[in-house]
Amino acid sequence: MKKRKNKEKPDRLTRSEHELSRRAFIETTGAAIAVATALPSLVEGQTPAAPPPAPAVTPDPSVPRTTIRVTVNGTQHRVEVEDRWTLVELLRDRLGLTGTKIGCDRGECGACTVLMDDKPVYSCSQLAVWADGKSITTVEGLAKNGTLSPLQAAFVAHDAPQCGFCTSGQLMAATALLASNPHPTAEQARDAMYGNLCRCANYNRYVEAVVAAGSAGNRATAGGAR
């Protein structure tokens, strides 16, 4: 997971990204509704279109700032951040990776869980500057070339997300678990995701999905019996 080919991305968004008109934004959002709802991809295995780029928040020039290098989902960024920004602010507002959610912003709920150098952390409780030199994986980095990870596929099959707001965090905690323990038991899955709240309380589905993803891997390593 660690070794990736990093491609440098400048700390500047393209002009067209900056100058999206309101109208264009709403139109593209509207189009996204159509794309999203049309998605028969589960049935037909199609790759959905990427979401429209969101206009990024830029640092306030009147406050202390630092330029950091951070690798996010395999892409290296050289990016200026406000010293007061948390990692989740960098991810969501600056880099437009809104899959990571803020549930409490104080380390209680786990909705903002990301991997930092492959370890799960609450990104609301990390300053962005602390990510200098680190490698971050967010929910957007789990699918490869439009193919869901086995864990994501298990989440879909087991109806793990209800409202979906805690799902990214549950996925990241469970991804870290599977990396260190490829075939967890239900108890081990509960322990690993204990720091991730779900108000829909779909906990049993989450655990079933993680155990199933582990078992699927088991079968695969045993010779692809399926």
Partner: protein
């Protein structure tokens, strides 16, 4: 009639449902992953706070630190002078009335009530009536600056005496929260309890050989949905677009338009994904109004973000209740009379009814129920999943469990002897399966061997016991709308004004339309969550989207099929469109039924409770999607465990300060609290709604607190009368 067990995760691909009794359908009734599941597991699903507009400002709200105070003055001059601060609102420059925020037993949708009420709630109020009430809102170029600007605001408060407990609030010398007193006014400006009377309770209590009385209480539990409230507002000329987490885009739009004095069509409400609902969001919120007014003032789009604490205090939760029951029974254990005196704490405004359900479960000739909704200086109470049910059912079913033991009867036998078998006035239910739910549940649970005839009789410090509760829940049909079209390529598009709050409405609507059209689900696209694109839908509240909007989708599909039969499929760029707004009748005596059986293990030395078996049997009519249906019951039952054992927005009555406003102290259930829930559906088709579908979403939480309390009694011999049943209460009762 058929039964379907769904305790583990069904393998969606496995299919093969044993459809016995209800006629099998092609698309509906098979475990189907959500059509938007992939959005939810990849981070592509866009929630309100994910919306980012060019030039957008960030807003924060300063909230009252006092439970009750007059605002003498607000000095915003320093904040306004800060570079980057673009708009400041207070009660002085914003007089918008929040119609849905107050008054009168769920009548908040009525323009008439909003106009006539004496107890009006504004977006910013003076006096403030609870800790967390909005006082100042500021929009600035970034969220940190907005926060810093709030710190520069100086508010001069005249602190008023406060009252936190609802019984204290009705005492003659209690501080008055409204000039008319602390008993809430109804929509006719009358201070009157919610009353229900039949027969002669006094006489029955006097003449019965067995009379019992007791007191129960439940606590304020917050909806605590994972998505903290946020809102994005954008003005383009006189057209307002609001992105907001709402369960009902149509009602939310109408509320915003009414409160801002605009025409409905000048407001567009968009909510695609919502991070949990759990009640009272089928309308607008003060946050929507504040954001819209800030955006107007600043001349730029604004995003308002509530912190978790803001959300706990500034939004709403389940109304806490106090119940006094008197119950009379004859020698053979037949109920003769039920009397209830109830008190519900509504907070500083009456956002909802404050009623208590449960008495309607019993076949009893004499009833006298009086429930008082009471103003207190607490966070405002509202609807939370089965608004008046889990509280009411915990009270009455704990009471009746106790009566059963005192009458030396098995609580299941007592329940079956006294429960309703027809709706009121002997009107038959559209179908009735309560007996079957209970019998089936007792069998799966193995009640006879798990239930202890002598409560608390297990030896040693770890004691087990069993409890049960049953329910009947409104499931009426009603009106909603749907539009469906087909193009020349045979692609069908369904337009429905639903929001996907987590229950899977979008997928359910797709399944229903596909079934009615006779095409696979993959051929149906669902357009949802945008008032500019979708017709009216009742909104995700009252467990009625499937019944009402689903039925409209069928009617629209039938119309489209007729058109296709008459005109043939469209060619070229033509489309065929059909719409429907059916007005189905006859839903009054339509109910969903269910029973929960719980085994609890209590460590009497530590006061710890563990749920060791949980069986839930539900009749929700025909099941549209067994996969998501089972998830609903699982999740709701576990949410109910939180209400039973942990959750409480606790106040210090002396200073009126909330003590547990956040996840850490409020203790909603975690992965460690989740227990396996064995879900069984008893399916049937009463010929109403979409192929017999009935209410579902709220059902699971209604029975859980009562069943857990009853199981703890059976294990320990101690009746736990106050929710949440925390360790200290158990140890106190056993001491």
């Amino acid at each position: 009639m058929k039964q379907r067990s769904n305790s583990g995760a069904p393998a969606p691909a496995a299919g093969g449902n044993a459809n016995v009794g209800v006629s099998p359908l092609k698309v509906v009734g098979h475990p189907t992953p959500r059509i938007d599941a992939e959005e939810r597991v990849t981070g592509r699903a866009k929630y309100t706070n994910d919306v980012q507009l060019p030039g957008m400002l960030y807003a924060k709200v300063l909230r009252s630190p006092h439970p009750h105070a007059n605002i003498k003055s607000i000095d915003v001059s320093k904040a306004k002078a800060m570079p980057g601060v673009k708009a400041v609102l207070t009660n002085e420059n914003c007089k918008v009335v929040w119609g849905a925020g107050s008054v009168a037993g769920g009548q908040q949708y009525s323009d008439e009530v909003k106009k006539n009420t004496k107890q009006r709630r504004y977006a910013f109020n003076n006096p403030v009536r609870f800790v967390g009430e909005p006082v100042v809102a500021i929009a600035a170029v970034n969220r940190h600056l907005a926060e810093e600007a709030l710190q520069q605001v100086v508010v001069d408060y005249e602190i008023l005496p406060h009252v936190i407990d609802q019984e204290d609030a009705l005492k003659p010398d209690a501080p008055k929260i409204w000039p008319e007193g602390n008993l809430c006014l109804n929509n006719r400006n009358e201070a009157a309890p919610l009353a229900q009377k039949r027969g002669n309770v006094e006489q029955a209590l006097a003449s019965s050989s067995h009379v019992f009385e007791d007191r129960f209480s439940t606590s304020f539990v917050h909806n605590a949905q994972m998505e903290p409230r946020s809102c994005v507002a954008l003005w383009e000329g006189d057209k307002l677009t609001v992105y907001t987490p709402t369960g009902g885009i149509a009602n939310c739009r109408h509320d915003i338009a009414r409160d801002l004095g605009m025409a409905d069509e000048k407001v567009r409400v968009i909510c695609q994904y919502m991070g949990g609902n759990f009640g009272n969001k089928n309308q607008n919120q003060d946050a929507d109004l504040i954001t819209a007014m800030l955006a107007k003032e600043a001349g730029a789009p604004v995003k308002l973000e509530l912190s978790r604490r803001d959300d706990f205090l500034g939004v709403h939760g389940r109304w806490p209740t106090i119940h006094y029951y008197k119950v009379a029974a004859s020698d053979d254990g037949k109920l003769q009379a039920i009397q209830l005196r109830g008190y519900s704490s509504m907070g500083g405004y009456r956002k909802n009814s404050g009623s208590m359900a449960g008495i309607e479960l019993y076949d009893v000739a004499n009833v006298d129920s009086s429930v008082s909704p009471v103003y207190t200086n607490k966070t405002v109470s509202g609807n939370f999943r089965g608004p008046e049910y889990p509280q009411g059912f915990f009270g009455i079913q704990s009471m009746m469990d106790d009566v059963a033991y005192k009458m030396k009867m098995d609580p299941v036998e007592f329940g079956m002897k006294n429960m309703i078998r027809t709706a009121r006035e002997n009107v038959p239910f559209s179908n009735y399966t309560l007996d079957e739910c209970i019998k089936r549940g007792a069998e799966i649970f193995d009640w006879k061997s798990r239930w202890r005839p002598v409560p608390g009789s297990d030896k040693g410090p770890i004691k087990k016991g069993a409890g049960f509760t049953y329910m009947a829940f409104r499931s009426g049909v009603g009106s909603s709308s749907a539009v469906v079209q087909v193009d020349a390529k045979g692609k069908y598009t369904l337009f429905v004004g639903v929001t996907d709050v987590g229950a899977g409405a979008k997928t359910t609507m797709g399944l229903i339309a596909a079934e009615a059209l006779g095409v696979p689900l993959s051929q149906v696209e669902v357009v949802w969550g945008d008032t500019d694109k979708c017709p009216y839908s009742v909104g995700e509240s009252g467990s009625r989207t499937t019944i009402m909007t689903g039925y409209a989708a069928i009617q629209a599909a039938e119309d489209l099929k007729k058109q296709i039969a008459e005109k043939g499929m469209p060619t070229g760029s033509n489309i065929l469109v059909a719409s429907a707004t059916p007005q189905p009748r006859g839903g009054a005596a339509r109910n969903a039924f269910g029973a929960h059986f719980v085994e609890a293990e209590v460590d009497v030395e530590l006061g710890r409770v563990r749920i060791t078996k949980y069986v839930a049997v539900h009749d929700c009519g025909r099941i549209m999607n067994p996969l998501t249906a089972a998830s609903q019951i699982h999740g709701a039952a576990i949410q109910g465990i939180g209400m039973a054992l942990h959750e409480q927005l606790l106040y210090d009555n002396r200073n009126g300060q909330p003590l547990t406003a956040g996840y850490y102290y409020d203790r909603i259930p975690t992965h460690r609290d989740a227990v396996p829930v064995e879900v069984t559906f008893i399916e049937n088709d009463d010929g109403q709604g979409p192929w017999g579908a009935k209410s579902m979403g709220e059902s699971g939480i209604i029975l859980s607190p009562g069943a857990i309390g009853n199981a703890i009694f059976n294990a320990t011999g101690k009746r736990m009368k106050d929710l949440p049943i925390t360790r200290d209460k158990i140890l106190g009762a056993l001491a």
